[in-house]
Symmetry: C2
Subunit: 494 residues, 2 copies
Amino acid sequence: MNNGLDSSSLPPEPASRVKTEGYHMDAAEFRRQGHQVIDWIADYYQQVEKLPVLSSIEPGRIRAALPEQPPGEAEPFERFLSDLDQIIMPGITHWQSPNFFAFFPANTSGPSILGDLVCSGLGVQGMLWATSPACTELETHVLDWMADMLALPPQFKSGGDGGGVIQDSASSAALCAILAARERATGFQSREKGVDARLVAYASSQTHSSVEKAIMIAGIGRERLRLIEVDDRYAMRPDRLTDQVEQDLAAGLKPFFVCGTVGTTSSNAMDPLPEIGAISRRHGLWLHVDGAMCGTAALCPEFRFIHRGLELADSYCFNPHKWMFTGFDCDCFYVADRAALIRALTILPEYLRNRATESGAVIDYRDWQVPLGRRFRSIKLWWVIRYYGVAGLQYHVREHVRLARELAREIQASADFELVLPPPLNLICFRHRAGDEFNRRLLEALNRSGRIYLTHTLLKERFVLRLCVGQTQTREPHVREAWDLIRQTARALS
Amino acid sequence: MNNGLDSSSLPPEPASRVKTEGYHMDAAEFRRQGHQVIDWIADYYQQVEKLPVLSSIEPGRIRAALPEQPPGEAEPFERFLSDLDQIIMPGITHWQSPNFFAFFPANTSGPSILGDLVCSGLGVQGMLWATSPACTELETHVLDWMADMLALPPQFKSGGDGGGVIQDSASSAALCAILAARERATGFQSREKGVDARLVAYASSQTHSSVEKAIMIAGIGRERLRLIEVDDRYAMRPDRLTDQVEQDLAAGLKPFFVCGTVGTTSSNAMDPLPEIGAISRRHGLWLHVDGAMCGTAALCPEFRFIHRGLELADSYCFNPHKWMFTGFDCDCFYVADRAALIRALTILPEYLRNRATESGAVIDYRDWQVPLGRRFRSIKLWWVIRYYGVAGLQYHVREHVRLARELAREIQASADFELVLPPPLNLICFRHRAGDEFNRRLLEALNRSGRIYLTHTLLKERFVLRLCVGQTQTREPHVREAWDLIRQTARALS
């Protein structure tokens, strides 16, 4: 088959699709195929519970099933969904399965999928206010809503000096926070002259790897990120932070940034923000708080203890794409001083100049992030908030926490397993009493079964199983069955 | 209305939706509402041509139409589409209108929208191979297809030492290229010890602002980015590049990176890659080539002249989300030495360790980008390639270039307008002969009309109109009508 790569320079005639539109999909076909794709997704959700959660395919199998050459001629859309079933689905790990307890969840939901569909359909760019005012204004507005919904301190709302923006991930939020901090600490001269080699940053030994990555990207160097020791609950020790800052100051260095985490990835540890915040204020550090997973819990007043001390922070982020039923990518990033962030990131070439920007009356979100282009991501978040209402979101978060706590009690009561830590919210760290090697084998057997998917971590050098109850569709029967399976599998391995 | 923010800690009862699922959208409702959203998008495309391209709304109007408080209780989905029509649509600038000639296009198409819908529906994370093998393997495979389709040099294919990855944007691609270059030039020590203060980078005065931004982010400092002078066609002058590199070497600095552009944003200038590549090789610079807009043209053999010399590049990117009918975000980023990129960006915490990663047999794309999480973006690209076929993509690219060249001839033949440059492909830079102020007023009148949307640039300090023929739906009548409108409006202003 001629794949067109060496075709002559004469344009081929368009195929049998509507002549005047060339090869484009016309409205009638879009409707027909679109309905099919919607139905395919609905069918998927009706069966996902029964599919093996973790794909067991071997490396290279998917590629081997794909044609080596790209298609020279247009293919009928009718084949696309059956190829999805036959080629792609065996290589899917089902993050939307109610039996997914691994990592942290990356949830979505009906209203999010449909809101994202509108975003894809409109296909607008929100880099400047002027390039689609609604894209910017809905985002600012919904992020103010979210600040109220989580009862965030007022410095993060757009009415004052702060404001929120959607980033793709907590990694990018951390990078932007570090860049703003780097610039504030150096009179906005690092962006011009290169990094001041005396800068030093702080995080705990349990902080997410994205902070280390961002420190490296920003040219600070990993050696200048001090990983502060944690206490018995894996929370940063403020006394050790103070010691290290003072030692660095004495050595002529410039402490400029600290990251506090509310809900670490490894064990959901909560860093003590009031103490870290006080140290930050005393030494002029930019305090960034990473609530990527657990921030969602603050929808419920009884879980807002996680944000105690947040009023001392310069920036904060949490991910609706983890626990708030909103599809990736949707990280809400807030700053108390938006001018610092913008001044750190802005560059305005002639071809982006426009009247609205120059008036100063509008937000241009391109200056709040690394990339220039941006999708209309706030639609999905808007729709999730409206579809569930605050009450609905609270209901599901409480349900997940309740299920996690019940399971924790069962683990605690069991003779064979131990709870490594009391779970602050919905992440359970536990292990079989038979030691590291046994737990390793147990994890592998569980994941190989396809019936559930868990991951692990190391705590005090011990191999620990992590089970997070947070997937959109996870309900009581799934947690019960997971626990039954874990016990059965352990017995079989013993 | 109680917005739930101060509700007691007792979970409210779920509303009337399926009891066992709490507040979630059930499959039947997803089908029903999903079909409605698909139809809404189909209707949108049938009328978008008639809508004012550039939104004329005033700052603050969208926010004023939104409720100040988030909804306490769940709202019926039925309201969502009518709110979209009434609140959001007046604030949309229609990037998918065939009358959009501004900036560069940010195209999408039916198969892309539906492919992205599948991505949102599956909701998988592709950060590691193991977290959804198909997400990684389809991406590697389709990027190899694209390399063949554009006849890219073999070093960029995954079979050897190189390979491709989807980034959100050319900005992020440039940042990753600069980070890999920074590390290669410093023995992978900048990530550990902080940036070497002697590093110097090069680009032309016409290079996209994202390179300047990336240099600033990476801690190099804008003063260490040399903006090399351009020739009469706005292409980088290799003699000036050589001079500057030699001057910097003589000053004890470390030249490490150069960006060449094939199709600059301002005027579509083509930097001379063979000469820049030779200089790069001589001095060990990492050559990154930015083909964000024009790369797509290389689908057609007759336009592959833009990539002459690309075999000398270390990295390359182009954006199917600009001209190849694939929705944002979809930037294809290629490196010749993937080990350098990975070594620059990798960090492996315990909770991400897994057997497949440790085997070395798989790609973990998290090490090819800044964020950790990633969507299944290759589905939309796969579907676009299959739906159009290489022949269909070539047909539309050729059609756009043909229309642009015809318009350029008309402008050249006109008494009142001048063509500022011969268009290499589909971007036309032109102006009315009546001077800067007149052209400024002309641009504003055209955009205010709502019938077309153009943007401007400065070339040799003169105000120049930019008209890019590249929107998915743009056909001959739209270009003719645009030209008629431009002439009529100019006459009315004269």
